[in-house]
Amino acid sequence: MIPVRATFEKRRRAKYISHLDLMRCMQRAFRRAGVPIWFTEGFNPHAYLMFPLALSLGYESGCECMDFRIDGDMSMQEAMERLNRVLPPDLQIKAVAEPVRKHTDIAFADYAIALDCADASVSAESLRNAWDAFIVQPEILVEKKTKRGTAEIDVKAQSQILDTQTTGNGLLLKLRTPAGTSVNVNPGLLIDAFLAWLPEHMPDVRTGMMHAERLAILCEDGTDFA
């Protein structure tokens, strides 16, 4: 039995596969690929697959993780090649390795968020100025859905802004938020707060499409999880 941690990417059309659907999609991919995945024991055996950290719908990523076990005579390299042949081109495994860190070691995730201006009448500079005025606030309170209802959190205190740049048609942010089983903050909360703040404070600054990508899943010491 070989335990495997696969790192895969989720791009373009595959961005819209929900977390629940991804599980089913991967289970079926193992059967198509003929990779002997380990099945759980018991009354209702099922292919054992574990995704340590869910990705929001619509987010791209090049660093998603999936753990499984090979129950038979096959190298993890071959398993990866076989799986990639049956997975859609927008959902491909990039690397396989023996898992080192535990799931509970996950502490942060880094994201790149590109926010476009609505159209040519809005300049990237004005969007940048609006963002600076927004983010300079001492605290940014948002409602966060939890298992027990909603809670108010200071999303600014929870987010580290790693980089802010203007691009040809908007703003490019890099930020780090807590991730993992105990605290998990979706960077979308901060962006949603910004979008809600804009009409009241800078009504001329209208935004368009948002592109979000997860760049890294990190442990407490700042090293990569995978």
Binding site: R13, L22, Q27, R28, R31, R32, G58, D90, M209
Partner: protein, 622 residues
Amino acid sequence: MNLFDQIEPLLLKVQKPARYIGGEPGSIMKDKADIRARFAFCFPDRYDVGMSHLGMKVLYSCINKRPEYWCERVFAPDTDFEALMREHHLPLYALESLEPVRDFDFIGFTLQYELCYTNILNMLDLAGVPIYQRDRGEAIAPIVCAGGSCACNPEPIADFCDMFFLGEGEELDLEVMDLYVKMRDAGATRSEFLKAASQIQGVYVPSLYDVTYNEDGTVNAVTPKDGAPATVRKRIIENFDACPSPEEFVVPFSEIVHDRAVTEVLRGCLRGCRFCQAGFLYRPFREKTPETICEQSRKLINNTGYEELSLCSLSTSDHSRIEEMMDGLLTFTENEHINLSLPSLRVDNFSTGLMNRLRRVRSSGLTFAPEAGTQRMRDVINKNVSEEELMRTCKIAFDAGQTSVKFYFMMGLPTETDDDIRGIIELAQRVVDMFYEGERRPKGKPVQISCSIATFVPKPFTPFEFHPQDTREMIAHKQKVLEEALAGHKRIRASTHFPETSILEAVLAKGDRRLCDVIYGAWKRGCIFDAWSEHFRYDLWLEAFAEAGLNVEFYANRPRPYDEVFPWDHLDYYVDKAFLIRENEKAKQAKSTKHCRLSCAGCGVTKVTGHPCFDYHQNSKA
């Protein structure tokens, strides 16, 4: 023109966006440079319904096997996405290329249910294609076509379609595409192509037929022109066992209604239940050998990765070698953690041997369709199932540990009385009593009998096509009788349906060409997704009928004499009208007809095929 960049900004604003972006495993991508004709296979309902449909998978695979043709999938967008599409001027597109449907050579709809008709209009409108055929001009593309079971009476949507495909499409669709490519390359116009296509068996071009009406509103005559055949005969696949079946499915990301591998085990039905349109439309009865079924199933499981396999047919237990087939399937499904499910079992040939095999399959309860509560009523509809057989089957199931059974019934059947309605509950109660008498029943568990009671809809090409449907008032009365009969029966649950839905279904099933304007009027008033109760607006439909000067009762509630010209009489589904009349007469006397394997009832099929459907000589030896 790939619309990805226009689609993407809308996706996170709608429910289940994965339905609108394609890219699923098994979806066929091709290079447009190699393609000579493109077919947009449109399912006029939501993705989760359409993706469950086996016929679409079959034809998708047939067309895509040809390297020069590309078949793509199109579904009706849900109302939230439709609103955004209209707001952002995003045209209806196909899920593989993400290119507009209006640029395709063929826009083909599958007609599975009459209440999808307004969705067809809505999809054509979203595509930017003129809804009425007469407005499409002489440019040859796109050709709007339709096939599937409702094509047996396509008159209510005849004005919207360039052509209909009658019967089985595996060979027919490709023949039409071949002719299209040849004629288009030679510069033919739409009408030239339609005229030529009407000569292919199975192609019905409605614009080549003039329909005249009598003063009372019935059809006077349907007259072909420009050399179109006087009757159009459906197509069938002669050698069904050798017929290519899909070895791959598009495997969806999001959950759909039937999310599993499906193998068709037989086509047609030998039973001849008089209410059942499918039982007559899909004749003759043809089956695949267990070897073919097992091989196709195994390939499908390997290629799709599905964890569940289902068998598809009108009556799986009528397969002459079902136990062999089950043994073959179970040998690999059990080893590979595959669930096997068998819908469409009959109660009269449900053997202990079959039950023992079924016990090895994880089962979510048994479903049977006695269809009627009394023996007299079952004889009228030719559902040759006796109460003893039903009881025996339920006993086998209870002894095997089942505690719930679901029954399907109908109300509003010809000659039905209130006693027949009460008979439904009485029958269910006798099953309950039998459960508690059983010694091997699971102890400490109550039994649950669920009865789903649909309103009967008389359909073309059945012996009951002559019958009026019960009026709304009659149905309401019978539902009340049922409710009263149910009082005090704690272990029985009964559910009924909206009668209005069934009434509209009857009208559209047996309607004529004048209904095109009614359907258009209903759609203009906002009717779509009529099959979904939350969208169904009967009041708007009635307005559309009134506007067209027509009424529901003429179509649904009028007994139709044997000598009347029916709107579908020029379409030939192998089954003679004379046979339907004979069967209807036997129904009136509550006389049943033996199933086809026992003796030939002379339905007319053999006159076309030229040979008996079964080897009766061998039967008698056995």
